[in-house]
């Protein structure tokens, strides 16, 4: 009989929990928050692969999120494509865009790559704001039709919740397979030492491009789902601050950690929500963007003290605590 690994139990538990949650939560707003977490998880897992496995920082990941969202919106609302076709088409288009942009961009490294991806994001937002006839300009794009499959229309938050989480789990499963495949090993080798990997016959640039295109495709998918879930998109959902928020999620979850990305996305989304709700109490009249203070400090603290992210780093710190060490020593003696 095949033994079931703890990770598989954890995965099964997650699926059951996700399936049961909407039965317990009857509040549409909370369901919506859970949809946001799923969308951010898809985004984060891609970014985490790019940053953790390919060792490349992308400060423009929201660009691909936006490309997917606007492509879905344009295809379904303007060109009258069925939404179920527009979504995969948008994801494919975004992956292609990622690949094509990756060809020149991955000639750069380190700080240059960070700045180039940031610049890409800035230019993308300017295009969204200036080409108002196509994109709706700064005020955004409304009336994006909901997804429909066969006779089933995903027009309520709960239906959308199940759809988005099903896709998210699919993306996570796909990412795990990639990580544990030949491609994943090659990527880890590149991260450890690009020169050594190339000397062993790994075409570093080709692998980086592949993982970048895959992350872009994920982001495009997330963008399409986001557009179909809230029926309205505007440039501010895809600007540089969102890219930085995504980097925060990846950092919190731990770079190169597929499961960590759920944790990172959930932590940041819930934290942001909590601050938005409570900030007004702490300081009368304060609201909105002040949550970025906390994100900023969180990023600094994690990068300085727990560079592997809250999950892995937190466990390491816990293990190093004197009490835990003593407990383990006592257990080992018996």
């Amino acid at each position: 009989m095949k033994t079931v690994a703890p990770a598989q139990w954890a995965g099964l538990g997650l699926v059951i929990a996700l399936a049961v949650i909407p039965l317990l939560v009857r509040n549409n707003y909370q369901i919506f928050i859970l949809i946001l977490i799923a969308v951010d998880t898809i985004l984060t897992v891609g970014l985490s692969l790019v940053m953790g496995y390919a060792g490349q920082v992308s400060l423009g990941h929201a660009t691909f999120f936006g490309v997917g969202a606007y492509a879905t919106a344009l295809l379904s609302a303007r060109f009258g494509w069925p939404p179920a076709l527009a979504l995969p088409a948008a994801a494919g288009l975004t992956a292609l865009a990622g690949y094509l942009l990756g060809v020149p961009i991955f000639r750069l490294r380190g700080h240059y790559l960070a700045m180039a991806t940031l610049g890409l994001n800035v230019i993308f937002i300017l295009i969204l704001k200036n080409e108002a006839e196509v994109t709706g300009g700064p005020s955004g794009f409304t009336d994006i039709p909901p997804l429909a499959l066969g006779g089933l229309t995903f027009d309520s938050d709960v239906k959308m919740y199940y759809l988005v989480w099903a896709v998210t789990l699919g993306v996570l499963w796909l990412s795990l397979n990639v990580v544990n495949s030949r491609v994943g090993r090659a990527l880890r080798a590149i991260h450890a030492s690009e020169v050594a990997a190339e000397a062993l016959g790994v075409d570093a640039n080709a692998y980086k491009l592949k993982v970048f295109a895959m992350a872009a495709g994920f982001a495009g998918l997330a963008g399409g789902l986001y557009a179909q879930a809230i029926h309205f998109i505007s440039p501010s959902s895809f600007d540089v601050l969102v890219s930085i928020e995504l980097v925060t999620m990846a950092a919190v979850g731990g770079l190169a950690s597929v499961w960590g990305s759920i944790f990172g996305a959930a932590t940041v989304v819930l934290l942001a929500q909590f601050i938005r709700d409570r900030m007004g109490v702490l300081l009368a009249g304060a609201s909105g963007e002040q949550e970025i203070i906390v994100f900023g400090l969180l990023l600094v603290v994690i990068m300085v003290f727990l560079p592997e992210g809250l999950t892995v780093g937190g466990l390491r710190v816990l293990r190093a605590w004197p009490i835990t060490r003593r407990l383990r020593a006592a257990r080992d003696q018996t």
Binding site: M51, G55, V57, L59, P104, R107, L108, R109, G110, H111, Y112, A114, M115, A116, L118, G119, L120, V122, I123, L126, K129, N130, V240, L241, I244, V247, T248, A251, L283, A284, G285, A286, E289, Q290, E291, I292, I293, V294, F295, G296, L297, L298, L299, V300, M303, V304, F305, P307
Partner: protein, 310 residues
């Protein structure tokens, strides 16, 4: 207005704007040369400096009207207050964020400075809100005219102060012991340490110097364009583009490239499309990065480029 006069006008405003980019780029170069870090929160120094100076010089209400400040200090004192505030933040950033993570990967260090930058942005938003603020021009009076272009007195201040700062920095790096120690630690940190130079202190000094430069840039431009809490990112990006165009490690290159970038941006916004004003410098950056990695002015690939892995 003839085309020639228009061109002259664009060039004058471009040089004014470019002076700010030059000051910020100088800050980037200083930090990079000494510590090997690109400090993404460079633009936030300009914003914090400008806001503190405005608060010291004028009646301002903070925290959405919950605190009214009416210091109305004389201008030099207000400018000094702004610079000192930014310098303290720069020192804090180095001590609390950069120094503990000095052995981390460049990726982590980038993320630390990004984190610091958005935390500062949030802090400014919390204190000053989303309203645009403006500092009174440094001296009153009619604008001057040059070749048909209008040159405001504040533009003259901006250009003059930039020249004074650049010359002052040059003298500092060239002739003072501390300046030479800074140059030594950027040329060869290991050897500098063997000569008894405290590398950590030099890193701190570089952050302090850059924070001061950024703050000065933000303060002198505050009378020309309104200062808002979210301008830091764009200022930092432009400064960084100027740094790269100037060859990454060259202070002279950074200044020339900063001013050139301002002129290019102003011309492109005036002649092509003002909506895409901020995009032009990135288009220039992409072209330069992909065609010529050493920058426009840096003739060869220096050790810093090697260190950056290029």
């Amino acid at each position: 207005m003839t085309l020639l006069e228009q061109l002259a006008q664009y060039i004058v405003s471009g040089i004014t704007l470019g002076s700010i980019y030059a000051l910020i780029a100088l800050g980037f170069v200083t930090i990079y040369n000494v510590t090997g870090i690109i400090n993404f929160s460079q633009g936030e120094f300009a914003v914090v400096g400008a806001f503190v100076a405005i608060t010291a010089a004028q009646k301002v209400s903070l925290f959405r009207g919950q605190a009214a400040v009416g210091l109305e200090w004389p201008l030099p004192a207000a400018i000094l207050a702004g610079v000192i505030a930014a310098v303290l933040i720069g020192a804090l950033l180095y001590r609390a964020g950069i120094q503990p993570a000095r052995n981390a990967s460049p990726l982590s260090q980038i993320v630390v400075t990004i984190g610091a930058s958005i935390a500062l942005r949030g802090l400014v938003l919390l204190a000053w809100g989303t309203d645009p603020y403006r500092l009174d021009p440094f001296s009153a009076g009619k604008p001057l005219r040059l070749l048909g272009a209008v040159v405001t007195r504040q533009s003259v201040w901006v250009m003059g102060l930039t020249v004074v700062t650049v010359v002052g920095l040059y003298l500092f790096f060239r002739f003072t012991l501390t300046g030479r120690a800074l140059r030594a630690s950027s040329a060869n940190p290991g050897a500098a340490r063997l000569m008894g130079i405290n590398i950590q202190r030099m890193g701190l000094l570089a952050f302090v110097l850059s924070a001061g430069l950024g703050a000065l840039g933000g303060i002198v431009i505050a009378p020309i364009t309104f200062m808002t809490y979210d301008r830091g990112l764009m200022l930092a990006l432009k400064g960084f583009v100027a740094m790269i165009l100037g060859g990454l490690t060259s202070p002279v290159g950074a200044v020339i490239a900063g001013i050139a970038l301002g002129v290019i941006e102003s011309l492109a916004a005036g002649l092509l499309s003002s909506g895409y004003k901020d995009a032009f410098s990135f288009v220039v950056l992409f072209v330069v990065l992909l065609v010529r990695l050493g920058g426009l002015l840096g003739a060869r690939r220096g050790p810093a480029l090697e260190r950056a892995g290029l």
